[in-house]
Amino acid sequence: MSNLLEICGVTKVFGGLTAVDNVSFDVRRGSIVGLIGPNGAGKTTVFNLITGNYRCDRGEIVFDGQLLSRLPPHKIVYLGIARTFQTIRLFQNMSVLENVLAGRHCRMKAGLLASMLHLPSERKEEREALKFALHELEFVGLREHAAQRASSLSYGNQRLLEIARALASEPRLLILDEPAGGMNEQETEELMALIKKLQSRGLTIILIEHDMNLVMQACEHLVVLEYGRKIAEGPPEEIQNNPKVIEAYLGVD
């Protein structure tokens, strides 16, 4: 099976508004897929359907041969899909390191009793989790900020921290919702390098991004949404010249 994720005819309705309308696309193992479209096209809703934050009204989502449809978000993380949020959702009052440990949680085992009694197995696990978390912080370049409060980080670094938190759960599929939002040019460059590095680690990535430069360079496959419908799909160079896409973007911008 070459597809890690298959989205088949997914629909989501809020009240009377159809936010996602019969959308289907596949994500190949090891690829970087971009989900683009004007504001309000339903991109984030698709993400929320994949991660289990919303439930599909129709259609199904299959991850590595497993149906995701009715699973709660934390189970989906456990299966290997991790995400970042469009509006940054860090644990602002906690340290950078603790934020990363949150992602590590689902790979740990210590229960209530082991935690209360600090059993040797629990201590060992804690040490290893700490090591792992620091490693991921190193990877995104936030190692020296580990003891700071998350709220004290710059906007761009907060986005990186969200990625580190997602990585700590050892995902196979990484879902990035506007990772370059609020970043300056240099930071965006570095982000692009980071995304490429992630791919070389064997991760599959889906991202929503408005920075077309980044999208065109990083992604090998694009899916375009408008008013909740998929209007085009294909490699970047093809999408760039697709008349429907051009119209959709010009019509809005």
Partner: protein
């Protein structure tokens, strides 16, 4: 050794001196403080750590106390042996009651817990299942016997109660610095992000509720053994409110703060006993003091401090 450690040692030393320096009444005041500290520590898991508004904690306290009293008076089980049973039963009751309502947010959960507390109290008054003794409650609970040593006098209870407080503090503070404790922090800070990071928030909420309820149940068992008579009026809504106040005023989420809160809320009104002229205005001052303390220490007197990861590298190696 830092100042914090010295502080803890000094506090423990001062507390250890209490039963040897004070008269039975004064020791009994400390016993009451200890019981409330236990209750507040248990509520702190639910309210302070997991961020679930619970204003019906007296219900679980009551379940524990009545379990112990029933087992002791009807089946003759030693009251200390009933301690774990009280805890388990109160925890299970907490689990069953919380299960359908755990998804409610904030104030809606608050009124539901108030309702649960009232339902439990009314059930006790109405002698539900014929085992609670109605408004009279249950009396004639035997004194606890600890390895052949009968505990009856206030200073004997002091060691039992504060020993249990010490054990609770040890267990709960190590819980705080663990996977479990962090999970509660995450879900209190941002429910959606916690779930999205792979934490089973519903499960942790239920576990926290169960743990808090179980500990309140054990406090109830100690209360029953100390009073030797229990009745529904000891577990009314006001009781839940007092425990709630102790947690928030002392410093929600901070173990030292919660214990300090118990000293203030339970101990201060006793101090007013000394000033007979003020005895009528005792609660008036109390209400005023509550407002003033909240206004000047808006996060409680001792708010929780962030975890320190100073020696990260040493921890790793």
């Amino acid at each position: 050794m830092n100042r914090r450690m010295w502080g803890i040692i000094a506090f423990v030393a001062a507390m250890a001196a209490v039963p040897f320096c004070l008269n039975p009444y004064q020791v009994d005041v400390f016993n009451n403080i200890g019981l409330y500290a236990l209750l507040a520590l248990s509520l702190n898991i639910i309210l302070g750590d997991a961020g679930m508004y619970n204003m019906g904690h007296a219900a679980f306290y009551a379940v524990g106390a009545y379990t112990a009293a029933f087992l002791n008076t009807q089946l003759g089980i030693g009251i200390l042996w009933t301690l774990p049973i009280s805890g388990i039963l109160a925890g299970l009751v907490g689990l069953v009651l919380a299960r359908p309502v755990i998804h409610l947010r904030g104030d809606y959960l608050l009124i539901v817990t108030v309702g649960v507390g009232e339902i439990v109290r009314i059930a006790l008054i109405n002698n539900v299942f014929g085992v609670t003794g109605g408004p009279n409650g249950i009396f004639g609970i035997a004194r606890p016997v600890f390895f052949g040593f009968k505990i009856a006098k206030p200073h004997e209870f002091f060691f039992l109660i504060w020993g249990f407080v010490a054990l609770t503090v040890l267990l709960f503070s190590s819980l705080k610095n663990s996977r479990f404790g962090r999970a509660l922090d995450y879900l209190r800070e941002d429910h959606v992000a916690a779930e999205g990071s792979g934490i089973d928030t519903a499960r942790y909420q239920l576990l926290a509720f169960m743990l808090g309820a179980a500990w309140a149940g054990m406090a109830g068992c100690l209360y029953a053994s100390k009073m030797s008579i229990i009745s529904p009026e000891s577990f009314n809504f006001w009781e839940s409110v007092v425990i709630f106040i102790i947690v928030i005023l002392g410093g929600s989420g901070n173990i030292a703060g919660v214990i300090l809160g118990a000293f203030l809320i339970v101990g201060l009104p006793e101090l007013f006993r000394e000033f007979k002229a003020f005895s009528q205005a005792r609660m008036w001052f109390f209400g005023l003091a509550m407002m003033i303390m909240m206004v000047f220490r808006t996060e409680g007197i001792l708010p929780p401090r962030p975890r320190v990861f100073k020696d990260i590298d040493r921890n790793v190696s």
